[in-house]
């Protein structure tokens, strides 16, 4: 204390500053990670360590111009700390011409932003003459800084982007709903088509089965008809021979002798007869025809031997 007689007057002030800074850091909406000390009080030995103790959340550092970094060892701190304000004012004025001059050491993102900052040279210094193209006075501001209030036009741009984005989202949702609807309807239609096809196939199969059974029945019916015909034929022919013989018995002339009566095929009858006279045989043949004992009667010419005439008479049963 004896070595530093003014410390007792300075400390309360430093303490107040430290407390106020602490309050500002705590109340600030964004995070303050670094506190720079500058001004004449920054010359006090270890003042940065004193503030560091009070401000645990932020890093304390004495502000030094970064463009003097290479020569800082050679220059006494007093030489530049005392004139920091003057340097700052000078840099502020020269900012447009001396790019990159900054007390603060820039982070990578800040440096990138700085690099991307394109500002067209101003032509304000030379007053525009009358009739001179106004394009010369145009300033193209290509600032990448997105902070700050949006101009009405920019607001409209943002609204347009949101509008298109909403349109895209609405379209995607509607299209997805439509897509799923199409998928569902396709599946339903496929299922119904398969069912209908199965029903048609079933109906066709039934028809096929019915037709084949009907054909089978038709064949059976035909067979039955044939059997019936055969039976009736048999029944009919069973009495025909005795009837024939009976009729012949009553109509044959006494002189005519029957050699044989043969049923060669189904209804065909071959009669062999003999007689001494042709006339009697002729009479017998005529009787067979006229009495309709036989139909389609044909007779062979008679063969005479030993005064006996033999003939063969053929005909069909009626």
């Amino acid at each position: 204390m004896e070595e530093q007689p003014y410390l007792q007057y300075i400390m309360p002030t430093l303490y107040q500053i430290s407390q106020r800074v602490q309050e500002i850091i705590l109340e600030a909406p964004m995070k303050i990670s670094k506190v720079y000390l500058t001004g004449s009080l920054a010359l006090i030995n270890n003042v940065d360590l004193y503030f560091q103790e009070g401000l645990s959340q932020a890093e304390c550092e004495i502000l030094k111009p970064n463009f003097l970094e290479q020569v800082l060892d050679k220059i006494n701190i007093k030489d530049y700390i005392e004139v920091n304000s003057a340097i700052a004012l000078a840099v502020q004025r020269l900012n447009d011409t001396l790019k990159g001059m900054n007390f603060k050491k820039l982070s990578l993102s800040e440096r990138l932003k700085q690099e991307m900052k394109i500002t067209m040279p101003e032509s304000k210094k030379r007053p525009a003459k009358e009739g001179e193209n106004k394009k010369l006075n145009l300033k193209l501001n290509l600032d990448m800084d997105f902070k700050g209030k949006l101009a009405p036009m920019e607001k409209n741009f943002v609204r347009a982007i949101y509008g298109v984005l909403i349109l895209i989202i609405v379209f995607i949702i509607l299209s997805s709903i439509l897509c799923s609807g199409f998928k569902k309807k396709n599946e339903e239609l496929d299922l119904l088509t398969t069912k209908q096809n199965a029903e048609i196939a079933k109906a066709n199969q039934d028809k096929k089965t019915l037709d084949s059974t009907r054909l089978k029945y038709q064949n059976l019916l035909k067979q039955l008809q044939e059997i019936n015909n055969r039976i009736s034929e048999v029944t009919q022919s069973r009495n025909q021979i005795p009837n024939l013989l009976n009729q012949i018995m009553y109509r044959i002339p006494e002189e005519v002798q029957l050699i044989s009566i043969e049923n060669t095929t189904d209804k065909h009858i071959v009669i062999k007869a003999k007689c001494n006279e042709y006339t009697q045989l002729g009479y017998f043949i005529a009787k067979l025809k006229t009495s309709e004992i036989l139909t389609n009667v044909v007779s062979s010419s008679g063969v005479k031997s030993n005064n006996v005439v033999s003939v063969t008479i053929e005909g069909d049963l009626p």
Binding site: F146, E154, I161, V164, S175, L178, C179, L189
Partner: protein
Amino acid sequence: MRKILLGIGIALMVTIFGFVLIKGINIGGINVLGVTQIKNESDKLKEKNDKLTKLAQSDLPSAVSATELSQNHFKKQKTNMKVKYF
């Protein structure tokens, strides 16, 4: 610069919207159909529907009526047979 970027953003959005509207996209299983694809799908659906309508209103009834006709013939045949032989 901000205006230029916003302008580029609008142009990009409009391009994306146009692309999605015309061509459609497929994002990880979600199929977003474009207008042309929606029209094609609609046509396909209509075609299928017409086919199904034809099946239901024409093909199936005709198949069923043909089967019924065959069945009636068969019944008639059976009745005739019964009358004739039994």
